[in-house]
Amino acid sequence: MNRIVRAITQTRELFTVAFLIILFLGTGIVNPSFLAPDNILLCLNGSVIYILLAIGVSFVITTGDIDVSVGATLGLTAAVCATMIRDGSSLIMASITALTIGALIGLVNGLGVTKLRIPAIIMTLGVNGLVRGSIYVYTEGKWVENLPAVFKSYGQITLAGFVNLFLLITVLIVIGVYLYLNKGKKGKYFAAIGDNMGGATLIGIPVDKTRILAFVLCGVFAALAGIIFASKIGFVTPTAGNGYEMKAIAACVLGGVSLTGGVGSVIGAMFGAIIMSSISRILVFLQFSSNWDDTITGILLIIIVVADALIQKHFKEKARRERLAARDLKALRAFEEMGGDAE
């Protein structure tokens, strides 16, 4: 039991998973129909967009930077993809265009941060404004509507009778990214840079390249989220994705990705995103008004990070005390030996 508690408190992802399970079970006790498999699947399906955004942002946050332009990137790529498909392009062409735009936005962010040395939050804030404005220029302020039914139906495709296509893609991506970060040759670069940039430079990690790559990946994942957004919602407004950047960052934080960099995993970010997007559904099942959505999100976020900070503090203090005690013991032994010699 003690070991389980320690594992949960020390591995931040397990902490998030435990929190998610408690949240779901708690809701299930009040309203058992919440735990029906169909409903849980709906919860997971609903979180696909947030999961993709959170994965992308977690790359950037792990390297110690931050990206607040993903909401606008999602909006622009969704608008471009939807417009192209409405005008008769194939899905593949539209997707490639959208992903390229996402990668380009990420590249601009990355170059600004690494080459021009603009702090990440400022660079991405500026790019956020640029991209958000471009959405209006591109769509002329109109909604992109009348998408072909085929495009909208991708969200309804299920495999083996219950696994949604988008959910399957997302889960495969999460697994792929996890393997890349943990087993891949260069996967550890991101965390190494976030943990200690000077050290990473000294041992020969291509710091600037990796940071740019993180921004590019973030843009690509935001674009992927944009394509799925267009297909799922079925129309794109010029304000699409407004405020999603903050929700993506919040999802990462919920999942234990530290904003100082170097700590966290995509698995954590995924579960954070699931918590994030399930809150409104949970509120409905608890017969709360959905007006409480943001309030509960804020409270959960604060509770989780405060609990995390206190737990970390406790363990740090404990480790320090153990270290001091060990040193005292060593000194005592040394003193006794010396005393023995003197006699």
């Binding site: 603009i118 400022i122 790019v127 640029l130 404005g133 010029p238 309030t295 509960i296 804020g298 976020l301």
Partner: protein, 338 residues
């Protein structure tokens, strides 16, 4: 002797604030030539009503950023205090001035919660204020459903005395918000640049450990900056409610990014330890006038994010480059001194 005089002169000319004043003058000239109505004093002064909340919150957001933190919950507190004000006045039936004071207290409380979690519990500032942003804007929405007025319409029909806070004019042509802004600039300037507290703020930003060792209660100093920031957000909420004549939960939703933009454009280092109130005040007006001028020149509001974003990136990149260029000369000077 001559050289020192020379250096000081150079220092004044090449200060960041001078660059901002230059941008400001350019804006007035360019927009004035596009639309001469822009140059009329009442129009120019009256434009501050559009961005007064950004100006007010950015001033005290600067102090937060100098301690090395960041406060992105300001916009949410604007909406929350606006709702609190409306509810207390209409649904609780309090005197409007009592409601205003309670409203300001709410802002201080929100800031205190942020500050406590950041400096005493030790959570990162960005994370706490991100949570705070969700919490306060969410609470504002919840409060708006409690009111007897529908959430969409908002609460309106405030007494004339209250409307006059933002609607009134001094000497017949200076709008009250402009005076409020000037007073707050003076207060913030004295607090940051002329008081002992201000020195502590800079020291905490440069090196919190050093501040701690020199007997400064650095935790309280940094918590106090968040309380100031919350207070300023609630002042902005009151002024904005008075200006619009109605209170709404989503008043400050779009403010977060412009506030951070103003603070950073004003020359405050995001890592803390460097920054000035005058710079922020100028930057806030630069951004406000840019948006206002473009609107008057016939650019649709929806496109305004593009020039503001460009201005931010170009200005910060140029500033970074100029600071980078200065480094070798600094090293040379140091060598000479040795």
């Amino acid at each position: 002797m001559n050289m020192i005089g020379n250096l000081n002169w150079k220092k004044i000319i090449f200060r960041w604030e001078m660059a901002l004043i230059f941008i400001l003058v350019m804006e007035i000239i360019i927009f004035g030539s596009i639309n001469p109505r822009f140059l009329k004093l009442p129009v120019l002064l009256g434009s501050i009503n559009d961005y007064i909340s950004i100006c007010i919150i950015a001033l005290f957001g600067t102090i937060v950023m100098i301690t090395g933190g960041i406060d992105i919950s300001g916009g949410a507190i604007v909406g929350l205090t606006s709702m609190v004000l409306g509810l207390l006045w209409q649904d609780a039936g309090l005197n409007i001035w009592v409601a205003v004071i309670l409203c300001l207290l709410t802002g201080v409380l929100c800031g205190a919660l942020n500050g406590f979690l950041i400096s005493y519990v030790g959570v990162q500032a960005m994370v706490v204020t991100l949570g705070g942003m969700f919490l306060y804007s969410g609470l504002a929405v919840v409060l708006s459903t409690l009111s007897v007025s529908s959430a969409y319409e908002g609460i309106s029909g405030f007494p004339q005395a209250f409307i006059r806070i933002a609607g009134g004019k001094v000497f017949g042509f200076i709008p009250n918000p402009f005076i409020i802004f000037l007073i707050l600039v003076v207060i913030a300037y004295v607090l940051l640049h002329k008081s002992r507290f201000g020195r502590y703020v800079f020291l905490v930003g440069v090196n919190p450990n050093a501040a701690d060792f020199s007997g400064i209660n650095h935790r309280f100093v940094s918590m106090f900056t968040y309380m100031l920031s919350g207070l300023s957000a609630s002042v902005a909420g009151v002024v904005l409610t008075s200006y619009l004549g109605s209170c709404r939960a989503d008043l400050g939703n779009e403010l977060t990014m412009p506030i951070v933009t103003a603070v950073v454009l004003g020359g405050t280092a995001i890592t803390g330890g460097r920054g000035s109130i005058i710079g922020t005040a100028l930057a806030a007006i630069v951004i406000g006038l840019l948006r206002f001028g473009l609107q008057m020149s016939g650019v649709s509001t929806q496109y305004l994010d593009i020039p503001v974003g460009l201005l931010l990136i170009v200005a910060v990149a140029a500033r970074g480059a100029s600071l980078y260029m200065k480094r070798p000369s600094f090293a040379a000077k140091k060598q000479k001194a040795v």
